[in-house]
């Protein structure tokens, strides 16, 4: 690539804007400007590239840019906040696919004259293809799982590890051979044939509850794939921004695993949530009963308490009940009830997802409390209202060393004087683990869709 001083300056500027943007993105006060600054960096990089001398098909390139941008913005404008995890996964997959395509084309170009292309282009072409394909296929499987088109249950069958091992060895072996045989196209196609199913098999055995971690990991994969294309093309902006995303994505993945008190290896390979069908029975093996509460009784109870902590979960989000919840909270606050929201770090389907959803419903920021802030308050609270949350309030995480979620930090909702749980049915949550909280004598169940239940509570409250 013949890049003059102008292009180097533009690429350097873009890289600086990316770093500043990312830095600002990590603090609430500056996040929005950070995102804007990063997008300016992108504009600079794209414009500078378009102005490179010797570029053919400029009208076609601009046309494809416009089509892609229009589609991207149209999707981003209309996607509901609840669907954010699959939106991020989809966009991530597209980026990974793009990186894979660029790498494939560069490898093909290198295979024509391997000596001229040099080993760097061949090696990074192979790496970019592998990582990009894993990210593309893996993200699409994640989208399928998050939208319910594929089963959310982890796929497990005997010999799955062996199969994955074979796919992995086949993929890496083909990659090595493709390099060793001087950019051999045959080995490269074999690499594609192994990498595609391996990408799917990487995500299929992972349960729906762990998808956020997977998306974050695939996000960093795409970053690395972009960096690999930077090595192929000898472009530092690609290397810098791709690596920034790769490194920060890896860190973010680790932070998420820490919030669940599990290792990344455990998330990826343990088949979490498969087969742990703890019976709905107590330690003595006796099937315990749950107590149901009627809508009116629940409304009367709520209207006469002094303090209430709302624990929202993904069930509230899928039912789109957050607006009703805010209305309920406002109504109770008018009656003098002290209302707080307790947000678990992994509530929703993505860390921080619940904050986004409640912000959308105009819940005042100062009513949201995170785990460390709110946990001491539960024992002084009259009622904890749990809406569509399950594993994040499961006391087994504190007490039962045999439980798969043992050690995960949870919200101590069970310590409040009384607990009301709004839940569709007695089905266990995404982790597939029984929750003994429901059998506690101080706990009442209000079965039903979160939105309908909250609507019913609102009506009953207004009628009081």
């Amino acid at each position: 690539m013949s890049e003059g001083l102008f292009h180097h300056a533009a690429y350097l500027l873009a890289s600086i804007l990316f770093i500043i943007g990312l830095k600002r993105l990590s603090s609430p006060a500056t996040a929005r400007s950070g995102n804007l600054i990063a997008s300016y960096g992108m504009a600079v990089a794209v414009l500078a590239t378009l102005l490179l001398p010797g570029l053919a098909h400029r009208p076609l390139i601009v046309g494809m840019l416009l089509v892609g941008t229009a589609l991207g913005i149209a999707g981003a404008r209309t996607v509901p906040m609840t669907d954010m995890p699959q939106m991020v996964a989809l966009l991530n997959g597209l980026g990974g696919g793009g990186a894979a395509l660029v790498s494939i084309l560069e490898f093909q170009a290198a295979s024509v004259d391997p000596v001229l292309a040099g080993p760097t282009a061949i090696v990074s072409g192979v790496l970019g293809t592998i990582i990009g394909m894993l990210s593309f296929v893996g993200s699409m499987v994640a989208v399928g799982k998050l939208t319910g088109k594929l089963s959310e249950k982890p796929l497990q069958f005997p010999g799955i590890q062996v199969l994955n091992g074979l796919l992995f060895v086949g993929m890496v072996g083909s990659g090595v051979m493709a390099v060793a045989q001087h950019a051999s196209m045959m080995w490269f196609l074999s690499l594609l044939a192994f990498a595609t199913p391996f990408g799917a098999m990487l995500v299929l055995p992972i349960g729906g509850a762990d998808m956020p971690v997977v998306i974050s990991l695939l996000n960093s994969f795409t970053g690395l794939a972009a960096a690999a294309t930077g090595f192929v093309l000898g472009n530092n902006t690609l290397i810098i921004s791709g690596t920034l995303v790769g490194a920060s994505g890896t860190l973010l993945t680790q932070l998420m695993c820490k919030a669940m008190n599990r290792s990344l290896a455990n998330v990826l390979f343990a088949g979490f949530g498969a087969g742990q069908v703890a019976a709905a029975a107590g330690p003595g093996g006796v099937k315990k009963a749950v107590r149901e509460v009627s809508m009116d009784d629940a409304a009367v109870l709520l209207a006469n308490v002094q303090s209430l902590i709302i624990v929202p979960g993904y069930g509230m989000a899928v039912a789109q009940a957050q607006h009703g919840v805010r209305e309920l909270a406002d109504l109770l606050a008018k009656r003098g009830v002290d209302v707080k929201y307790a947000i678990h770090p992994v509530a929703g389907r993505m860390p921080g997802h619940m904050n986004v959803l409640l912000a959308e419903a105009n819940v005042p920021y100062d009513q949201l409390y995170d785990l460390e802030q709110i946990n001491p308050d539960f024992e002084r609270t009259d009622v904890a209202l749990i809406i569509g949350a399950n594993d994040v309030v499961n006391p087994a995480a504190r007490t039962d060393t045999s439980s798969p979620i043992y050690g995960m930090p949870i919200l101590d909702a069970d310590k409040s004087k009384y607990v009301i749980v709004i839940k569709r049915s007695m089905n266990p949550g995404f982790a597939g683990i029984e929750n003994e909280l429901y059998y506690d004598p101080r706990c009442s169940m209000l079965f039903g869709d979160a939105k309908k239940a909250i609507g019913g509570l609102l009506e009953a409250l207004k009628a009081l």
Binding site: M1, I19, L22, K23, L25, S26, P28, A31, R32, N35, L36, M42, A45, T49, L52, A56, H57, M64, L65, G68, T69, L71, G72, G75, A76, M81, M84, V88, L91, N92, L94, G95, G97, G98, L101, I104, L105, N219, T222, G223, A226, A227, L238, I239, S241, G242, T243, V245, A247, S248, G249, L252, L255, M350, G352, H353, N355, V356, A359, P364
Partner: protein, 120 residues
């Protein structure tokens, strides 16, 4: 090993440290926007797409190059736009400073009350 590759490797390694450094203290509230923001940044592959499409000669190269450019453009535009949508919602509260001050005052009152309860 040639000089250009060596320089690229330096850039790569330094970028890893920068990437870890800049987000090491991100609050959980921002995890989702940050994930989608970094997601948008790897839309930079569009630059790679432009370069390969700009040097494409065969039909296959044209088709794959076009797809790569469109994918990258979707990734970056959708990513930045959706991140902005999320962050806008965090912003439109009456005034964050006031809210923070109110919360601080409320926390203090609460502390006093608890201290009072303990005494009585």
């Amino acid at each position: 090993m040639n000089g250009a590759l060596l320089a690229e490797l330096y850039v790569f390694v330094l970028a890893i440290f920068v990437g870890i450094e800049v987000i090491s203290k991100v609050p959980v509230v921002l995890h989702t926007p940050l994930m989608s923001g970094t997601n948008a940044i790897h839309g930079i592959v569009v630059v790679g797409g432009i370069l390969v499409l700009g040097h494409a000669t065969t039909m296959l190269e044209m088709v794959l190059g076009c797809t790569a450019v469109a994918f990258g453009a979707m990734n970056l535009s959708g990513g930045f736009f959706v991140t902005d949508r999320m962050l806008e919602m965090f912003k439109k509260k009456p005034s964050d400073k006031k809210a923070a001050a109110d919360k601080l005052a409320a926390d203090r009152r609460e502390k006093d009350r608890r201290a009072g309860e303990r005494r009585s």
